[in-house]
Amino acid sequence: MTFTIWQALLVGLWAAFCFAGQVWGTYTNRALFISFGVGLILGDLKTAVIFGATAELAFMGFGVGPGGSTPPNPLGPGIVGSILAITMHKLTPAAALTLSYPFAMLVPFIITLIFTINSGSMESARKAIKEGKYRKFNLMSNVTLWEFMLFAFVFGFAATLSTSALRAFVQIIPTWLMNGLTVVGGLLPAVGFALIMSTMLKKEYIPAVVFGYICVAYLKIPVIGLTFVGIAIALNNYYNNKKGSAVNVDSENAGGAEDGI
C-alpha cells in the first residue's frame, strides 16, 4: 500500500493542526485524536483508532512530566504508529506502539530546540512594542506556534511518503524480535499509568485505587460503571470531610474577615 502525495499533504496538515493543540491547550495533541484523522485520511479508520487507543493509554501519563522536563510526545506514535498499523495488518497494535517510540522521543528534542532558539524573542518583542512596530510584535508573538506547525507538517508529510521504506524496515525484523516488541508493547502502558499515579496518588486516594481494582478484576464492571463508582467514592469523601472540618473552615473565615478590617 502506497499513499498519494495528496494523502501525505493531508496527514501533514492534520499533524500540524493536532500539534498546535499542544500550544493552545485544546487536547488535540493526543494519540487517540491524531490516529483518528490519520485513519480517516489513509482509509482505515478502525485499525487507526484501535492503535490510537492503545497508544493513548500508554502515553496517558506523559505530558504531565515533572516541571520543566519534556516527556515523550504522542505526535510520534499518533502519526508513525498509525501509519505502521494501517499498512501492515500483521503488526499488532502493541508492536506498532513499540516501533514508534523512537519518534515519540525525537519530538521533545525538537520542542526543546524551538524553545531554546526563541529564548531571545522577549527582548525583541519588548523593543517592537516600544518602537511602535506592532506588526512585528504580532509576528514575534506567534513564532513558536508557526515553528511547531511547520515541524509537525514536515513530520506527517515525510512519514506518509516513506511508508514503503518503513515497511521494508519492519519486514527485516525477525519473528522472535517482533514477538518481543509485542510483549514490550504490553508492558509499556505500565509506565504511563505509573507516571500519572506518581503525580496524583496521595494516601487518602488509596481506597479509590483499591475499589477500582476490585471492580475490574473481580466484578468485571465496564468503564462507565467504574466512573459511577468513582463518583460515589468522591462524593462520600467530600461530604464526610466537610462534616469533620466544618469548625476549621469557620474559624479561618472569621480570621479572614478580621484581617480585612
Binding site: 500550544v23 491547550g25 485544546t26 487536547y27 487517540l32 485513519g39 479508520l45 483508532v49 484501535i50 493509554l57 496517558m60 501519563g61 516527556p71 515523550p72 502493541a94 517510540y101 522521543m105 524553545f115 531554546t116 526563541n118 529564548s119 524573542s121 518583542a125 519588548r126 516600544k130 511602535g132 508573538s141 506567534n142 513564532v143 518481543g180 509485542t182 510483549v183 514490550v184 504490553g186 508492558l187 505500565a190 509506565v191 499509568f193 505509573a194 499515579m197 496524583m200 496518588l201 486516594y205 479509590a208 485505587v209 477500582g212 481494582y213 471492580c215 478484576a217 473481580y218 464492571i221 468503564v223 466512573t227 468513582g230 463518583i231 467514592i233 469523601n237 467530600y238 473552615v249 480585612g260
Partner: protein, 271 residues
C-alpha cells in the same frame, strides 16, 4: 490611586477569554509565556489607553516579562488585570496580583486538567475505542475541549467579578473540585490499568491430575490466586522506580524494552 471610568464591556472580556488560547503561541525558555500575556490582553489595552500611545506602549511592553502558568484557569488573571487597569489602579498593584496568581493557578489548573480530566477521559474513551467505537476520539475531544472551554469562561468571569479578596475561598473550592475529579480519575485509572497492561507468562509445567498428565500454565495458576497479579506488580515496580529511585520515563522505557525482548526470546513472556 488614580480612578477612572471603565471602558471595557462584557464583550471585551469575552474576547480576552478567547484570546487566552494565544497564551503559549510564543512559548520559549526566555520569558516562557510572557510575550503571550501581552498578546492576550492587547486589544483591551488598546481600548483602555486609547489616545495615550506612550502609556499603552509602557503597559504593553511591561507585560512581556516572564510568566508561566496553566493555560486553562489563566483567563482569571487577564480579567482581573484588565478590571484593575480599567479602573485606574496602579500598575504595581496589577503586577503584584498577576505574579501572586501565577503559582496557585498553575497548581489548580494542573490538578484539574492534566491530572484529573485528561487521564479520566482518555481512559474512558480509549477503552470505548478498543471496543470498536470509532468515533470515541471525537467524543474525547468534545468532552475535553468543552469542559476546559467552560473552565476558561468561568475563570474569566470570576476574575472580572470577584476581584482580589476572594481568591482564598476560590482556591479552596477549586481544591475540593480537583479532589473529586482526582478520586474519580484514580478509580477509573487504577481499574483499567491492570487490564490494559499485559504480562503473560509462557511457562508451563506438567502435573499429575487424577492419574493423567496434564500441561498446566503458570499464568492460569496465578490468575486463580489473584487476577491481574503480574500487571499489578509491574505497575507498582515502575511506580517505585519513579517515586523512590527518581528514574526518568526514558530510562524505564529502555529497561522495559531490553528486559521485555530478552524474556520473550527466552520464552518466559509471551504476547
Amino acid at each position: 490611586m488614580a480612578s477612572r471610568k471603565p471602558v471595557l464591556t462584557k464583550r471585551d472580556y469575552f474576547i480576552s477569554i478567547l484570546r487566552s488560547y494565544y497564551l503559549q503561541n510564543s512559548q520559549n525558555y526566555g520569558n516562557m509565556q510572557g510575550t503571550g500575556v501581552a498578546k492576550t490582553i492587547w486589544p483591551e489595552l488598546r481600548k483602555i489607553y486609547k489616545g495615550d500611545e506612550a502609556k499603552f506602549r509602557e503597559v504593553a511592553s511591561s507585560n512581556v516579562e516572564f510568566y508561566n502558568t496553566n493555560p486553562q484557569p489563566y483567563p482569571f488573571v487577564t480579567s482581573l488585570m484588565l478590571a484593575m487597569y480599567d479602573s485606574g489602579q496602579s500598575e504595581e498593584d496589577v503586577r503584584a496580583m498577576k505574579m501572586a496568581l501565577m503559582g496557585p493557578l498553575a497548581g489548580i489548573g494542573d490538578a484539574l486538567s492534566q491530572f484529573a480530566l485528561a487521564p479520566l477521559f482518555s481512559t474512558i474513551f480509549a477503552s470505548l475505542a478498543l471496543q470498536g467505537v470509532v468515533y470515541a476520539p471525537i467524543m474525547f475531544f468534545i468532552c475535553m475541549f468543552g469542559i476546559t472551554f467552560g473552565v476558561r469562561n468561568l475563570m474569566g468571569y470570576l476574575g472580572w467579578k470577584v476581584g482580589t479578596s476572594i481568591i482564598d475561598t476560590l482556591s479552596d473550592r477549586m481544591a475540593a473540585l480537583a479532589d473529586i475529579a482526582s478520586t474519580v480519575g484514580l478509580t477509573v485509572i487504577s481499574g483499567l490499568s491492570v487490564s490494559f497492561v499485559k504480562v503473560n507468562l509462557g511457562l508451563k509445567y506438567s502435573a499429575q491430575i487424577k492419574g493423567k498428565t496434564q500441561l498446566v500454565t503458570v499464568q492460569a495458576f496465578l490468575d486463580k490466586i489473584m487476577p491481574y497479579m503480574l500487571p499489578l506488580l509491574l505497575i507498582f515496580f515502575v511506580y517505585w522506580l519513579i517515586t523512590k529511585k527518581k528514574w526518568t520515563a526514558y530510562k524505564i522505557i529502555l529497561l522495559l524494552l531490553v528486559v521485555g525482548v530478552a524474556l520473550s526470546a527466552m520464552g518466559i513472556l509471551v504476547p
